[in-house]
Symmetry: C2
């Protein structure tokens, strides 16, 4: 059996998963790759930290030079996360003709071009299946299996933390804060949950997926972003009345060469496959002009699922028979130039929840503002009286399809009405057609 | 732009899809593969038949020699179906060093080994993504993305016709015959629907998937098979009472190196992702020891979805930079030897519907037979009186987990009781744990 030496950079959650899989599934990996994979070095920050995994101490190092200066190490696996020094170490490793596997979404989403170009010019492979949606093979799916398609739309539930929180709010009637606390207790949410609950994590991932699916360069800032912190139990109850479910959805659509890219809470029909993606599960739903509807579902995070993606990337390098003169072609992420649309230009249905004064004529004032902006209303619900104040009522409006611009301007005007106390929430509705 | 000549063998449903995609998505395919794909010949049986697609007549031929004798044709796409002459033509084409793409499940399931070996010895690529589950990239998923995993279980809804029929029975309360008729009207079922409704189609596909997922040789006859013809509306109603859905499920599990392989109607929990796969959609659910739960969902048939898989296989060959001395490694389908278990050895819960005499003591006679065989009952439902005969009642039993052997012998004994008129149905229950 041939042997290959690899190095891990990082031994956190994902690094631990990679180590465990390389050990427990040694036989499978040998038979499928033709190689015995030998982890020669593991770069860590602290040699003394308890790792909760049985790694021989002599493999650990705090010195990156021990990795790049060892020509017998052929593959470097970056699972440390963050921009620097991950970026520098990857570029240095490529210069020394080492193939790279990374799980680093932030680095890919913000500086992917530089890394792709370097891999190309150095003739090394650069695999990153684990960077989006953990164990779900969505990168391979797009890069290898959708090559016959023009992708029209892509929708993703690609953040497990927020999906867990929304699931708990829906089924256990928890408030957002209670559900967040529970997610933290379960280890699904970080002590500082901002990146997840404000949608930054999904924004990075959507930038990566869109670049690949549409063969173009998407910058993170091209993706409109809204988190789930404003979702209240009452919105989830109203969604149920409309036979809908609220998900933090990552959406990209192409219309006449222009892309709309957005991450925001979205009401989707209860019977859509994405609506049944619960707890910390992830899924990516794609509409291709040949394949039609396609969905990939699975674990979007966790040591073993993400480790599974990393190790499959290692096996893919070992099976590629790559050499410097015969570089395995990769899908370049700049095949097309696409225009990027603004969020103001999208067309959607909208759910709007307001608190208004309880007196005759108020509804008329509000609906005539919408009418003036050509926004037509699909349904209006007014229920009971606000508990705090007998003079306030909750009003829920659902619009027909309309341009976001018209909604924004309507809301601007409505805010100024004396009879309107508060716009509590505005949630876009997606019907997948 | 480099050009490559290919030949199609067959211009039915799938061949038409391939032709349409190569034309409508020409730009995408060129950018992703680096090649302009030129269909040089199309083998058909009848030159005059109306093809419902705009193919230049001069490309059509009835003579296979025009394809193998043309050295400029590098890839042969077999979409004619059936065993012969597809098998012979593929072997001949391999001999002439042509790469092969096929959508032929029957050929792969019954004679795959010969084709894999020939491809290996001739140094040509042999791709078959379209052979299972149409547009769903399940072959690539198993071969490329699950390489780090020991697959533990695989469950598939992999026949669109039966899933359509069961969906219609569930939602529109149709009888089996009515639903089948509607499936035929919709073009989802053939005039002779035997292959679908008796489970042969799923059996072929499960043999292919299991060979790949478990790295071993599975023969079609290793797969236990039951169709859906015995399912009645009343069974679907009972399933609903138990919060279950009936699917024609293809199942493979490994227990201590022994595989159980079976295709049969199965009651599964309503909230499982596979339960929400409706109409003619397909899905494959896999449990890997690293990745955990993973599901691929999409269109399992149809000209464009299946064509999408065929064309992605063509692109994969074009991007492989393959040459004779540097053969792209493929997952061999004989990596492990596995024992194949008998259906009598499986453990399951069972739903059993019987028609029995309506008199005191009958239930006791039946339950004591089960008790004697160590089969314990989870629930017993007896409702009303049979319409046809006041002396008959329907009895529905659900068992705890038990060996199939014990069920078979219990049923044998119960059949002999004077008080039992008929065993109407026996449906296995899967709880995915």
């Amino acid at each position: 059996m041939k042997k290959v030496k690899i190095a891990l950079m990082g031994l956190g959650n994902v690094g631990r998963g990679v180590w465990m899989i390389l050990n427990s599934n040694k036989e499978e990996i040998m038979k499928r790759s033709g190689y015995e994979v030998d982890v020669a070095k593991i770069l860590v920050r602290d040699l003394e930290k308890d790792r909760y995994v049985d790694v021989p101490k002599e493999l650990l190092t705090t010195d990156f030079n021990e990795i790049i200066n060892d020509d017998s190490i052929k593959i470097v696996v970056e699972v440390m996360g963050g921009i620097e020094p991950a970026r520098e170490y990857i570029l240095e490793s490529m210069k020394r003709k080492k193939h790279i596997v990374t799980a680093n979404k932030m680095l890919l989403a913000t500086g992917g071009d530089e890394l792709f170009e370097k891999a190309d010019s150095e003739g090394v492979m650069f695999n990153y299946e684990a960077s989006v949606a953990g164990g779900i093979p969505i990168i391979n799916g797009i890069n290898e299996s959708l090559t016959a398609n023009k992708v029209e739309k892509l929708y993703g539930v690609i953040n497990g933390t927020t999906n867990y929180i929304l699931t708990k709010m829906e089924f256990d009637n928890l408030s957002f804060d209670e559900a967040l606390y529970q997610a933290q207790e379960m280890g699904y949410a970080e002590a500082d949950p901002t990146s997840d609950i404000e949608g930054f994590d999904s924004q990075y991932k959507l930038a990566i997926l869109s670049s690949l699916a549409f063969g173009t360069k998407i910058k993170v800032e091209n993706v409109y972003r809204e988190g789930i912190t404003k979702i209240e139990s009452i919105d989830i109850q109203y969604a149920r009345e409309f036979k809908k479910v609220i998900k933090l959805l990552a959406i990209v659509k192409e219309n006449d060469g222009r892309l709309e890219l957005r991450v925001h809470p979205t009401m989707i029909p209860q019977n859509h496959p994405l609506a049944n993606v619960y707890d910390s599960f992830n899924a990516v739903f794609i509409k291709g002009n040949a394949v039609g509807d396609l969905m990939f579902y699975g674990r979007g995070a966790g040591d073993l699922p993400t480790g599974s993606a990393v190790v499959s990337d290692i096996v893919s390098i070992l099976r590629s028979n790559i050499d410097i003169d015969n570089l395995n072609p990769v899908v370049k992420n700049n095949l097309w130039d696409k225009e990027i649309g603004s969020i103001r230009d999208i067309t959607s249905k909208y759910y709007i929840r307001l608190t208004v004064e309880d007196r005759p004529g108020v509804l008329g004032e509000i609906t005539s503002v919408f009418g003036g902006m050509n926004v037509s209303l699909l349904s209006v619900i007014q229920k009971g009286i606000d508990n705090d104040n007998e003079n306030k009522v909750t009003l829920v409006l659902v619009t027909h399809y309309t341009k976001e611009e018209n909604i924004v301007e309507s809301i601007d005007s409505i805010c100024k009405l004396n009879s309107v106390y508060k716009i509590n929430n505005l949630i876009r509705i997606e019907e997948f057609n």
